[in-house]
Amino acid sequence: MNASDLSDTTNQPFSTRLYNLTQRQRHWFFIAPALIILLLVVIYPIIFSTGVSLFRVTFASQSRPFVGLQNFERMLGNDDFIQSALNTLYYVVFSVSGSFLLGFAVALLIRRITAGKELLRLILIIPITMAPIVVGLMWNWMLDPLFGLVNWFLGLLGIPGQTMLAQASTARLTVVLVDIWQWYPLVFLIIEAGMATLPRAPFESARLEGVSSWMIFRRLTLPMLRPVILVALLLRTVDAFRTFDIVRVMTDGGPHLTTETLSLYLYRTAFTFSKLSRAAAGSILMLLFIGLISALMFRYLYRDVEVG
């Protein structure tokens, strides 16, 4: 039975038509479980949250009056929300670029090492194997101004004790650095895996023709790794946007909001202040914000991949 037979359904009995239909549409059977789960745990909560954001809801509210877009107006007019959004953007930009550059550099460097590579790789990926809460607690102690290892070490160098997490000017950067420390191994692993799959022939030809290492990297390595880089950047960006645990443990959003991310702010609004509908409005705004940035990234990066 070929494709034209399947499509000619005018004179076929119902059972045959049904069989043909299931044959043509059988891919739906395979993706249905995933789709149902996606609808239940992603789409439904988004729709529900959107609904909640249009009412006035707290944990204890007896009545839930319809307030239209008031929750959105309140959120957009709220300085703390705007500050948290800007903090999140800062976090995404610096954490993603930092972990990407470090991960990439380590991946390039480790290729040059011949002895002890496996052991070194194992050591390098330790941060990613730790829970973010543990990482936060560990660095909190390391950075303690009176008892921490970092300040003890700085003291040996004659540098006075630093209070990195207590100062508004340094807390945000410190948390970002810790995040980079934890997540650069992810980029390193992805890039290294990508590099291992690159064909050797173009590189050997280039070397034989006397092309410099920098030109090989720019003209061969980078373009050929572009899809892998895209994956690494997307994973890190999405992850950085929803940062919660490291910040919660290290600074709890302080000092005075300088490290408060959107996730932390919305968590507090919903579960500590019991402003469920306002937090729902904030989360919808956050979703739109992430969606917009992700769409821009996809558009820019995929266009380049397709052209390339």
């Binding site: 009176l146 000092p255 507090r268 202040f273 019991s274």
Partner: protein, 489 residues
């Protein structure tokens, strides 16, 4: 004849149901003296936090005693302090029974009572009072920690009152005394006023020797507001609200207090990192001998006196919190915040679990066990403990603790209080970071007004429960339970 038969039948029916009715009214309790273990083999789940050391000591000392006496297994879930309220709110809102007993801060009771998740304790007490003795707390403490307005909902696990810890070795050192006399022209004494605090703090601040004057908490909105009010605000005359629920953080007294407490002059006398210090860090700094004085609360006493936990345990003294000297009258004004958590019963659990929970509360946090805790650690929050001559002889700070517990002022227990607390706490943190106190406090005041307005309090004409009203609620409740209290006479 037929009537007699009917009467006999009715009597028989009534006599059959009477034991059932009385069984419902009485609650079997564990009694170490008689060996009664009615709940043996059962389990009790407690949502807890060990954010302050006394809670860990209670867990280590009292719980094994209760488990041994009752045969009940206690299952603890220790959450981070900042996670406890969200956890209870979400569980309660869903009618969840994940835990039987929960740790509830006084400032949260209003929010949780509004959710209907706090079980009132009157009926348990009336059925089987056990060793609970609600009249054994000061009315201020009981009203703040154990009640949600007129309702009795908890047994206090600690009553936190402001205390002032200091290094007796430093203050008693003749060389230090002579140096202080030379520098300031007066004797070195434990500070009694804010000015003296700043002066003595300056004297002991020697960064090269890793020694600083004193230490307060500025790390989270909750912590900073606590220390602002406990150690400074109330003595300066700051209050949270007027009777119509207008917030009072934009008053001259409130702004002055913010400028002093969170101003750079006072911050510079504290160890580096002060802007982010929370419960643990400030306590650790004192326990490791890094500061000369420490504005603390009564819950820290067991740890500060524990030689295994503090290298200056043998040289730690306690004094009343320094007050504010009124320049017009020359009088040193002093007032304190009284706060603390109580263990409360989840209203959504089964009746049997509620009875086991009551069994635990009345015994593990009753009079006899509280005495055991005080004997071993120096921590006390019941009147019987704080005034016991033997215990006072062993732990002299109990007297100051008792006086503080009698005059402590509680935080508001309204459903929206956590949000208001966050608003004012954040403003104070910004003052500590160098922001303008007047502007920030006024902005925070407006934010709080908006929060109160959002909650509909102004429309509904609700009035703020004053300290005196809280005491009236306590006295009325105790009278309902058939109890007398000296402070209610």
């Amino acid at each position: 004849m037929r009537n007699i038969k009917t009467a006999w039948f009715l009597l028989l029916v009534i006599s059959l149901f009477l034991p059932l009715a009385s069984a419902q009214d009485s609650i079997p309790l564990t009694d170490p003296e008689t060996g009664a273990r009615p709940w043996e083999g059962k389990e009790l789940r407690i949502l807890n936090t060990e954010v302050v050391p006394i809670l860990a000591y209670q867990h280590e000392i009292l719980d094994p005693l209760y488990e041994e006496a009752s045969g009940v297994t206690l299952i603890y879930e220790n959450a981070a302090h900042s996670d406890v309220l969200p956890r209870i709110q979400t569980t309660c809102a869903a009618g969840g029974d994940d835990f039987d007993i929960m740790f509830v801060e006084d400032g949260w009771a209003g929010a949780l009572a509004a959710l209907g998740c706090l079980e009132e304790l009157d009926r348990f007490y009336l059925a089987a009072p056990g060793d609970s003795h609600p009249e054994d707390f000061t009315t201020r403490a009981f009203g703040t920690v154990a009640m949600a307005k007129e309702k009795w909902v908890g047994i206090p696990t600690l009553v936190a009152v402001g205390m002032f810890a200091y290094r007796t070795d430093l203050f008693g050192d003749p060389d230090e005394q002579a140096a202080f006399m030379e520098a300031y022209g007066r004797e070195l004494t434990v500070p009694a006023t804010w000015d003296e605090l700043a002066e003595v703090g300056e004297f002991f601040t020697r960064p090269d020797d890793e020694l600083y004057g004193f230490n307060y908490r500025y790390g989270t909105p909750n912590n900073i507001l606590f220390d602002y009010m406990i150690h400074f605000g109330f003595s300066r005359g700051v209050d949270f609200f007027d009777s119509e629920f207008n917030p009072l953080f934009d008053t001259e007294a409130a702004i002055d207090t913010a400028m002093f407490f969170a101003g750079q002059d006072v911050l510079n006398l504290q160890p580096p990192g002060r802007e982010s210090f929370q419960f643990g860090e400030v306590m650790q700094n004192f326990a490791q001998g890094k500061v000369a004085m420490y504005g603390t609360e009564s819950w820290a006493i067991p740890l500060l006196l524990d030689p295994d936990a503090s290298i200056v345990a043998a040289n730690t003294g306690f004094a009343p919190v320094p007050g504010w000297m009124n320049p017009e009258t020359g009088e040193i004004q002093s007032a304190l915040l009284s706060a603390g958590p109580a263990y409360m019963i989840n209203a959504h659990i089964s009746e049997e679990q509620k009875q086991i929970a009551w069994d635990y509360l009345q015994l593990a946090h009753g009079v006899a066990f509280s005495r055991i805790l005080a004997e071993q650690t120096g921590a006390g929050h019941r009147i019987s403990v704080l005034t016991d001559p033997d215990l006072v002889a062993k732990w002299p700070h109990l007297t100051a603790n008792y006086e503080a517990a009698k005059v402590g002022i509680g935080r508001p227990a309204e459903p929206w209080w956590p949000e208001a607390e966050n608003a004012i706490g954040r403003a104070l943190q910004e003052v500590a970071a160098g922001g303008d106190a007047a502007t920030l406090m006024m902005d925070a005041n407006n934010d709080i007004r908006e929060i109160v307005e959002d909650a509909g309090y102004y429309d509904e004409g609700l009035t703020y429960v004053s300290v005196e009203q809280r005491e009236e609620f306590v006295c009325a409740k105790l009278a309902e339970l058939g109890l007398e209290h000296d402070e209610c006479m």
